[in-house]
């Protein structure tokens, strides 16, 4: 599963402009350009790729731009259903350990060279070349042997059964062997990494750092020529500038936050529409295993004391859904619709804490064994939702004697080894984790994912000081979920995991976040997809 904090980067101005703009009627927009046409499409992004070699970048945005340039063996549509790309079909052996991919014929790289199985083999070998700064080997590390019996067949023999194999390996971008095999080319710094081409519908013609990346059609695209003749991926430093430029027509397309989407709903932008989609991201408050937060009953009480329905309505304007565990309801095969819930009730929360031995101490703050119940809330400075939710919870929780102190910082600071993740305080940290296209959630909860030190890799930092009381159960269940390719067995494992998480409340699950994309009203074919990168179907985009 992919995991990252909510959009990092430029955070300067928060929602100021939105507030200042609200109530002003009649946006003139007389500077606005004519209706967008297929001659060019300007897309705004507050993040910039570090490299366009997708194998050495850990950034989502690098993968997004690369998805217009490179192709994958297979990909996933908006319903998380596999569709063929470079592989027209694949088969698996009865024991689930041999995967055979049949490649598309007649595919050429954008320089006219033919694409063959050797390029897939090269991509595989690149991932394991020590000098390459590869970010992810997941899935590929399950391969015991990769063979290419002919130019259009790739056979992968696995070491064992690994259920998420296809969802990890299938959507990996395939790189051109003939470019990187030239003498003197450094995989990590190749000029190609800044101006790449692939078998995808577009190629990069220019990358001006800090400004824009220009994409032009790949003349040899096997899909035929795309409708849009030029895509300019414009890097904008903050959400407000992006919003203003969407208003003035200097940008055609861009992702916006809930507040801006709400502003646009009340004051539409001429010639544009907003697409609300599922972001496959669960928004929550991490409760570190420290102090009272190690007690299940305490976490459950906090869950009861959180008015999710009201927050969804008030802050997200009703978009999105309440989250009870870590699997998106869109994952119909694996989503457990009958989870235990902790409906909002401050009285219930207060009585649970009283029954657990908490009493009112000085200043009305609850205490137990002489220790006050004080939690630090940490909010990413670019997280507009938390900026609004945290003060409400501070007030509500304060009313039943839980002292909450608010802190706002950049995610770089929050993630830091000396940041709140690793301090010996009770903390609640607001995060949005973006899931991948497999239900495997080992990365969030398993003991194998607990970082050894504050500078180590591992996503289960919640259990850094103390393991969860239900650690053995969740370790067994996450292992069971990946050890079989039998969908029924996997579903059973993930149903149990969701039940366990909803009951134990290791974090306060809040919402499944929506994504908002502003697009020209006449742009057809665009369909934001939580299971693939931004340009997965860019060849279908058409401005008519």
């Amino acid at each position: 599963m992919r995991r990252r904090g909510k959009a990092l980067g430029a955070t300067l101005l928060s929602t100021f402009l939105v507030l200042s703009g609200s109530g002003v009627s009649g946006w003139a927009g007389s500077h606005a350009h004519a209706a967008a046409s297929n001659s060019s499409l300007l897309i705004g992004s507050t993040e910039e790729p570090d490299t366009l070699n997708p194998l050495i970048s850990g950034l989502q945005v690098s993968g997004d731009v690369a998805s217009a340039v490179f192709d994958t063996l297979i990909n996933y549509d908006t319903h998380n259903t596999v569709y063929p790309v470079l592989a027209t079909s694949y088969t698996t052996s009865a024991d689930g350990r041999t995967w055979t991919f049949h490649l598309r014929h007649g595919v050429k790289w954008a320089d006219g060279q033919p694409f063959t199985s050797a390029d897939v083999a090269f991509t595989y070998s690149s991932i394991f070349k020590k000098t390459n700064k590869i970010i992810s080997t997941i899935g590929w590390d399950q391969i015991d042997k990769l063979t290419t019996p002919d130019d259009f067949t790739v056979v992968m023999h696995l070491k064992g059964i690994f259920a998420p194999f296809l969802s990890d390996v299938g959507p990996t971008d395939i790189l051109p062997k003939h470019i990187f095999n030239q003498p003197g080319v450094d995989f990590n710094k190749a000029a190609f990494d800044r101006k790449p081409f692939g078998t995808g519908p577009y190629m990069v013609s220019e990358w001006k750092t800090g400004d824009h990346i220009t994409l032009v059609p790949n003349p040899y695209s096997w899909r035929g020529q795309p409708h849009i003749k030029k895509i300019i991926f414009k890097i904008v430093p903050n959400n407000n500038t992006e919003y203003v430029q969407l208003r003035t027509g200097d940008l055609d397309t861009g992702s916006v936050n809930a507040a801006v989407a709400d502003e646009i709903a009340s004051s539409p932008i001429q010639g544009k529409r907003v697409i609300v989609s599922d972001a496959n991201a669960w928004y929550h408050i991490d409760l570190k295993q420290w102090g009272f937060l190690r007690e299940t009953v305490v976490r459950q009480a906090l869950d009861y004391a959180t008015p999710k329905q009201a927050l969804l309505k008030g802050i997200l304007k009703g978009h999105g859904q309440i989250a009870y565990a870590d699997l998106d309801p869109a994952f119909k095969q694996f989503y457990n619709p009958n989870l235990p819930t902790h409906p909002y009730s401050l009285a219930k929360a207060a009585s649970m804490l009283a029954a657990d031995g908490f009493t009112k101490g000085p200043g009305g703050v609850l205490q137990k064994n002489g220790q006050p119940f004080a939690i630090d809330f940490w909010i990413g400075s670019s997280d507009d939702n938390a900026q609004k939710i945290a003060p409400i919870l501070k007030e509500l929780w304060g009313s039943i004697g839980i002292k909450v102190t608010l802190h706002s910082q950049s995610f770089t600071t929050i993630f830091a080894p000396n940041g709140p993740t690793y301090t010996k305080n009770m903390t609640g940290i607001f995060y949005a984790w973006f899931n991948g296209n497999d239900p495997d959630d080992t990365t969030y909860w398993a003991s194998s994912q607990i970082p050894a030190t504050p500078t180590s890799a591992g996503n289960n930092s919640l259990a850094y000081f103390y393991k969860f009381s239900f650690q053995k159960q969740i370790d067994a269940l996450t292992a069971a979920g990946t050890a079989t390719v039998d969908t029924a067995k996997r579903r059973a494992a993930y149903f149990q995991i969701q039940d366990l998480l909803a009951t134990q409340a290791p974090v306060i699950f809040l919402f499944w976040l929506p994504g908002y994309t502003v697009v020209p009203a006449n742009l057809h074919g665009i369909a934001p997809n939580p299971f693939a990168h931004e340009f997965y179907n860019v060849a279908d985009w058409n401005l008519t």
Partner: protein, 317 residues
């Protein structure tokens, strides 16, 4: 004067060294590091993070890293960006022209407007214009630059549609002289607003003092035109304190560029600094800090030199 300038430049060397040491140390104390976010990427393993830390030299003690970095600078190698793997000087060099253009335009706008407002206020003190200029000056000095930038965007780009909201040029049309000028107006004005307010006040009070002097009265008595009295006789003396302030304000333009470039999506060094702070791109941050320290030194030197030129009574020793 050349000897004086040379001595001041030599004096700047230990100063810049001190800045380098202090900047390096402070950056080491910043919470988080270049690999902090990567540690939370489920695809990155411990071994990969250690390898990357080793490749970047981050696993070495701080003083070793410092000498490695500083030694590189002395040889013209300012290091490699942790983010895009390119030499720091390439990254900075690409952004430098945009920032110089913005700073130069900001200075020009400030200079012209500050002198105009200052002179008009001084020749008619306590007039309606003077009161208006006073109000404007306090407004300009007290409001946050980013807020002013946003308001200008809202008014001139969104509501009136007269000027573009951001960027250095129209991406669809490509770069052009008039297009560039069009895009420059709002950022230059935003960058210059504080200076316009401050400098015009300086000039006003300085000019009000000067025009009460005997030699001005004499000039008027012998029939010199009022315009010539101000521009030739009064201004030269009135400008002396202002020039010092102006030269000392130059480095502030770099600081201002960080905010202005971020608001206006201007592809300059200020934005690069802002981005490098977010990503903890130490080599780029340090490179820009050294450049801004150099600018402060240069600003001071220019102030001293111009001061002496305007006032021949001042001798360099």
């Amino acid at each position: 004067m050349a000897k004086f300038a040379l001595r001041r430049i030599l004096q700047a060397i230990p100063l810049l060294l001190g800045v380098a040491i202090l900047s390096f140390a402070l950056i080491q104390f910043l919470p988080g590091g270049p690999l902090t976010l990567l540690a939370h990427n489920p695809h990155a393993t411990d071994a990969q993070i250690k390898q990357l830390a080793h490749n970047l030299g981050l696993d070495q003690p701080g003083y070793v890293q410092f000498f490695h970095w500083f030694g590189g600078i002395l040889h013209g190698d300012w290091g490699t960006s942790y983010v895009d793997n390119r030499p720091v000087l390439t990254d900075i060099g690409e952004r430098l022209p945009a920032t110089l253009l913005l700073m130069g335009s900001g200075l020009l706008v400030s200079f012209v407007l500050a002198i105009t407002i200052g002179v008009l206020s001084a020749v008619r003190p306590y007039s309606l214009f003077d009161y208006g200029a006073t109000f404007f000056s306090f407004f300009g000095l007290s409001m946050p630059v980013f807020w002013f930038g946003l308001m200008l965007q809202l008014l001139f780009a969104v509501h009136l549609g007269w000027l573009p909201a951001a960027d250095a040029y129209d991406e669809r049309a490509g770069p052009s002289f008039w297009g560039g000028l069009h895009h420059l107006v709002l950022p230059a004005l935003t960058l210059g607003i504080t200076s316009i307010a401050g400098w015009s006040r300086y000039l006003r009070s300085s000019l009000v003092d000067v025009i009460r002097q005997d030699y001005i009265r004499t000039a008027r008595a012998k029939g010199v035109t009022p315009r010539r009295v101000i521009t030739v006789h009064a201004m030269r003396n009135a400008l002396i304190p202002l020039v010092t302030v102006m030269a000392l304000d130059i480095p502030g333009y770099f600081t201002g560029a960080v905010v202005v470039e971020t608001v206006y999506s201007w592809p300059g060094m200020g934005r690069l600094f802002f981005d490098s702070l977010n990503t903890r791109d130490y080599p780029v941050q340090l490179g820009l800090l050294i450049i801004s320290a150099g600018l402060i030194v240069l600003g001071n030197l220019i102030a001293d030199l111009v001061y002496g030129y305007l006032d021949p009574r001042i001798k360099y020793s």
